[in-house]
């Protein structure tokens, strides 16, 4: 295996992480800028995606243990889950279902093809889990990955402002909405304003990942 892909990924990500440390804003999101830059480098150098991906495969493989590791923040948050059991359950079941149905039917209404509908359905779930779901239901994991990251960036850029606009003041409601809708990037934004909402948001992200991966494969059979 050539070390080309992993080296290119690490170098580009290092540069954009440093930029993000200096200027913290949604438009300096290091993952998004790295994807864009590497795509341009491949295109400019006439390098095939398969060659890049084959030599970066170890990173993709590590998504599995990373998802398993999400058990730790959930375990540590078990007292908070107990304290807000009703809110978290209803927020995730309602929000997780609405996320799938609104994405699927809106894309369908606007004329999306089946592979687009399947790829966009898991877009509110944290990237590592969404890629796994997309593979299982026959979507395009690469398209799902990019749509998930864009959903996170929307939440990071506009989530708090939208919640203020409709005057949602309840801290638990704000945290759940951000975590269920915009996963890690939404959590990273709301935790700056409110630590309690941020903690709820992080739990909501992990639990919505589990809920969606249980529900979506069966729901999609009904929707198709």
């Amino acid at each position: 295996m050539s070390p080309f892909g992993i080296t290119l990924t690490l170098v580009v990500f290092c540069i954009f992480s440093e930029l993000h440390n200096r200027k913290r804003a949604f438009y300096t999101n290091p993952v998004f800028l790295s994807i864009l830059t590497i795509a341009l480098i491949l295109k400019a150098g006439r390098i095939s995606y398969d060659y890049y991906m084959d030599s970066a495969r170890i990173l993709i493989f590590l998504l599995g243990p990373a998802v398993v590791s999400l058990a730790i923040p959930v375990y540590k948050g078990r007292n908070m889950i107990k304290a807000y059991a009703k809110e978290i359950t209803i927020g995730i079941v309602a929000g997780g279902t609405i996320a799938i149905l609104s994405a699927f039917y809106m894309a369908k209404l606007l004329g999306g093809s089946e592979e687009v509908l399947l790829s966009i359905a898991p877009k509110s779930v944290t990237t590592a889990i969404a890629i796994g779901i997309s593979e299982k239901i026959g979507g395009l994991p690469a398209l799902t990955a990019v749509l998930v990251i864009l959903t996170g960036i929307l939440g990071n850029a506009l989530g708090v402002e939208l919640l203020n606009l409709v005057r949602v003041k309840d801290r638990i409601a704000r945290g759940l909405a951000m975590g269920v809708t915009s996963h890690g990037l939404g959590t990273a934004r709301i935790i700056l304003d409110d630590e309690l909402a941020g903690a709820v948001s992080g739990l909501a992200m992990a639990l919505n990942g589990v809920f969606t991966s249980l529900l979506l494969p069966y729901l999609i059979e009904l929707l198709k």
């Binding site: 690490l10 580009v12 290091p30 993952v31 795509a39 991906m53 990173l59 998504l63 599995g64 243990p65 990373a66 398993v68 590791s69 058990a71 730790i72 375990y75 540590k76 078990r78 009703k86 809110e87 309602a94 929000g95 609104s102 809106m106 894309a107 004329g111 999306g112 687009v116 877009k123 990237t127 590592a128 889990i129 796994g132 779901i133 299982k136 239901i137 690469a142 398209l143 990955a145 990019v146 990251i149 929307l154 989530g159 939208l162 919640l163 409709v166 949602v168 003041k169 309840d170 801290r171 638990i172 409601a173 759940l176 909405a177 951000m178 915009s182 890690g184 990942g209 589990v210 991966s213």
Partner: protein, 117 residues
């Protein structure tokens, strides 16, 4: 270090194995996470055995999204031909999900406002 990694990879392997043998549609990694959570809750696995290693994975997960994301270059034609359904649905679904989730939770909490408890 090695105990933590062995536990994390072990649960990933169990999840993958279960998902394949029972042909479940839930990803093996998510099953592994649920199994590990169950093992922590039941006391079979102690938090300090895996805490540090798991947190390294969780904190540094985002670099792992880059190679799958770059795969988008193979679908540029599809995206060009479906700009409106893809990005229209993304934006509308984002707004609807955020507001519907927030309003639903606010409603069941009886509009307690800024009160956290």
């Amino acid at each position: 270090m090695y105990r933590g990694l062995a536990i994390i990879f072990g649960f990933f392997l169990m999840g993958e194995w279960l998902s394949e043998t029972l042909s479940l549609s839930i990803p093996g990694s998510v099953l592994g996470m649920l199994l590990l959570l169950g093992a922590l809750l039941s006391g079979v696995i102690k938090l300090e055995w895996v805490e540090n290693e798991a947190e390294i994975f969780v904190r540094n997960m985002s670099v792992l999204f880059i190679p799958p994301g770059v795969g988008i270059v193979t679908y540029l034609g599809l995206i060009k031909s479906q700009v409106v359904p893809i990005f229209g649905a993304l934006l509308i679904s984002f707004i609807v999900t955020l507001l519907a989730t927030a309003k639903t939770v606010e409603l069941i909490r009886g509009r307690k406002g800024g009160d956290a408890g």
